[in-house]
Assembly symmetry: C2
Homo-oligomer: 329 residues x 2
């Protein structure tokens, strides 16, 4: 099923509003050593999935999306903070097709850039209408903490031999799922949805977030650098415990797993090695399993929506979930 | 003038409350890679100047300090975040007599520890009574941004030849003064002081903050490592533009300044060099000027208090300012 022309037009409009608000949020110029990298990073673009989810969730409960614009952009600023700091920790040199902040400037600059983005995120959040500001700030703050916990667990896993699929899902719920769930939940709260609607929006966000992360894990290997805009196989090279790696361990032969492990140990990847990894994934049904997992989560997200919202109110988020399902980067 | 026994007892009581609340704030244990360094760092102790200022400011406007305890601890958590990240950027290995987080664990762990502390700071802040939560969160957030700006300017100065004393004061106002001013201002707001009182408390904090930073610059050279609990001469070794350095440049002879510059360039310091730097400072009146600056700022802070508050209400903060004046670390 393709996205409707109307939904595509809505996305273009909302995205423009988000980008404008974001650039305005980072509007200061002194000191340049702080604001130049912040602006550089924000101007890359990015998919803006989280703020779009907030705005669409606000519309789903029947409210003007402009009410949720500050909170939506606060979430995107917070997301950008996590990217800048994660890139340092993961020593990634490319992001959205551009040099990462610590590569282009320095680690010190990147640390401060991330810190500054948190401050700007809360400043944007403070422009949320006062009636809902208090619960929104609380949920947002719990999101900040949860995301740090998730990142810590993700780093811990790098040094561990054995990570179960249950541990993996717990980790990505914190590292990725939480902020996506916060996006939809806050959209519902700012839009003054009732408790049932807000709970449904949060659950929708959690399911979508899970689908999103498994897909991210998959794209890290099967996409291409031009499309992805970042180093391919970066998860693999860092020994991250992704859905793909855990399934490879479970499903591949002893010999194949030996090869994968030698790749993990060497932490170096070239095109040939990546092709061989892909072939092993395909042969053992790892790509299939990942795709089925993504479809299951997206379907679950859609079911939650349709159970709570009338079809016309659910429509935009339904379309959004299809977009997630079909994304290539 | 010595501190009264009553004031000392008050400080002990307030400090205990702050420490208890702080440890409770960082109470989680999983993942250990996040909460262990957070607890390690918080348990060092530290002077807790900022939360004490918040609680005393709350009392100065006639309110029970317990109202301000969450906000006071939020400010201390925020301060600890800046310390952990600054230690990475400044490559300091000692803090409060203990290994810094990035030295004991790793830079990645220290980045996340700082990030987690911001989250915990906001979580504590959210426990502020709702009537004042909104303005308090706004002021707190502006403080976060200002502190990042100050740190960026401080790092910029390291690479600059010429920094004026006016630029120095602007930098320390952002890097140090702002958070101390936020401490007193928020204490006044949570305590429901009127606008005049809150303004006075903020101005008091700004003046005290200035005195505090100039003294920090001085102690970096004239204290001892045992007393200070961190590397001596660290500012000097990093080429920081401190009050002391700017005054040395202004007041020392060409030959002396040549020597100081060779120290700055080599970025290595031993006891003999430090002694020679101290002698040059003493001879050219740099220590005198710093001490006069500190006294002037403390006196200004006291004048502001006495103009706005009746003597009995001003008493505790007056005593506190004396404590700042006489501190040795």
């Amino acid at each position: 099923m393709d996205l409707t022309a109307e939904f595509k037009a809505t996305l273009v409009e909302l995205r423009r509003e988000v980008d404008t608000y974001l650039i305005k949020s980072a509007g200061a110029s002194y000191p340049a050593s702080l604001y130049q990298p912040i602006n550089y990073f924000l101007e890359f673009g990015g998919k803006r999935l989280r703020p779009l989810l907030t705005l669409l969730s606000c519309r789903a409960v029947g409210c003007d999306y402009r009410e949720a614009l500050p909170a939506a952009c606060a979430i995107e600023l917070l997301h950008n903070f996590t990217l800048v700091h994660d890139d340092i920790m993961d020593q990634d040199s490319l992001r959205r097709g551009q040099a990462t902040v610590h590569t282009r400037w320095s680690e010190s600059v990147a640390i401060l850039t991330g810190d500054g983005l948190i401050g700007l995120a809360y400043r944007a959040l403070m422009n949320t209408p006062s009636e809902t500001l208090q619960p929104v700030t609380k949920i947002f703050t719990e999101g900040v903490i949860r995301v740090c916990e998730g990142q810590a667990i993700d780093k811990d896993f790098e040094g561990m031999e054995e990570v179960s699929i249950a541990e993996y899902f717990d980790m990505i719920q914190k590292k990725t799922g939480e902020l996506i769930a916060v996006s939809t939940e806050i959209g519902g709260i700012v839009g003054k949805g009732d408790a049932v609607q807000v709970r449904a929006l949060r659950a929708f966000g959690e399911a979508i977030g899970r689908a999103f992360q498994v897909q991210d894990d998959l794209l890290d290997i099967i996409s291409s650098e031009e499309v992805l805009g970042k180093d391919l196989g970066s998860d693999l090279a860092q020994g991250k415990k992704t859905f793909v790696i855990i399934k490879l361990k479970e499903l591949s032969s002893a010999e194949e797993w030996e090869f994968i492990q030698s790749v993990l140990r060497s932490r170096r990847l070239d095109k040939d090695i990546l092709e061989r990894v892909k072939a092993i994934m395909r042969k053992n049904g790892v790509i299939d399993q990942a795709e089925r997992q993504i479809q299951r989560d997206v379907r679950q997200a859609q079911d939650i929506l349709l159970k709570t919202f009338p079809p016309d109110r659910a429509e935009e988020l339904m379309q959004f979930s299809l977009m997630i399902l079909n994304r290539k980067y």
